[in-house]
Symmetry: C2
Subunit: 157 residues, 2 copies
């Protein structure tokens, strides 16, 4: 019933629906500015900016995992898991784990010394799952972001 | 006295010295596994995995800033600042700010909606500097990492 495969161009409208569902779950319903066209452009640019895997359950797209390379000055090339999404109604059926496994296989095939991602500190279910798989929660760091408006303002000064 | 420029191949032995100095400052002196050859390989691969800017003070390399693209499913293409390093003895002379500015200009030229990085929660000087420039500290996230050994173990199960 579960099938994991790379995304094709026509999947991206549905991919964006899942991204929006996750943003709503994370209490940021208005945060999504990305468009289907941007997703398609960067998925198939040369080089692509990311790799997106599709999780199907009974031939319907019910999950995605989106990842891309990063470069750690300590560990070299790494794979960053940006989003692992399963629709609310399809949780607990193994789709999330199948997507997670696919990303880890993808990373291992590239011989990286690290796979990394972030998790909300109140998402205990996810934290427990990641720990049980052998991942480590790294305490003591803050994320920092500058948005496009602040960036322009800073550079105008 | 300050000069910022892209790194060339022969700069990477010195770049690795600065990476090692930062790891020691961050209380992880044994964490650096990357080699000069790996840095050179990924700096000049097609496509390169990162962009490294060199900060010179009186013609000596006293700082670096290393960054690369990421892809946010909310904001699209972003620039991640992986490391901003100034040697201990050259702090307070404006070299860090010059490197920071160069990365922000580089990001702005690519029209991104976000520049992002991480900071240690005890590094108050850095946090204050980032905030004063218009960046935002994003609370509530944990970093998660799986190293290569744990990755292989997980996939063997």
């Amino acid at each position: 019933m579960i099938n994991i495969r790379p995304a094709t161009e026509k999947d991206y409208p549905r991919v964006l629906e899942l991204i929006q569902e996750l943003a709503t779950f994370e209490k940021e319903p208005d945060a999504v500015e990305v468009t289907v066209e941007e997703l398609q452009k960067h998925a198939f640019s040369k080089p692509p900016l990311f790799t997106c895997f599709i999780g199907e359950y009974d031939d319907k797209i019910e999950g995605i995992a989106l990842c891309y390379p990063r470069f750690s000055t300590w560990k070299g090339k790494s794979i960053h898991l940006e989003d692992l999404i399963v629709t609310h109604k399809m949780r607990g059926k193994g789709l999330g784990k199948a997507l997670y496994n696919r990303v880890l296989e993808f990373a291992h095939a590239q011989n990286v010394r690290r796979v990394e991602w972030v998790v909300l500190d109140w998402n205990k279910g996810a934290i427990d799952f990641y720990k049980s798989s052998g991942a480590t929660i790294i305490p003591g760091w803050h994320l920092v972001q500058m948005d496009g408006v602040s960036l322009a303002q800073y550079l105008e000064k």
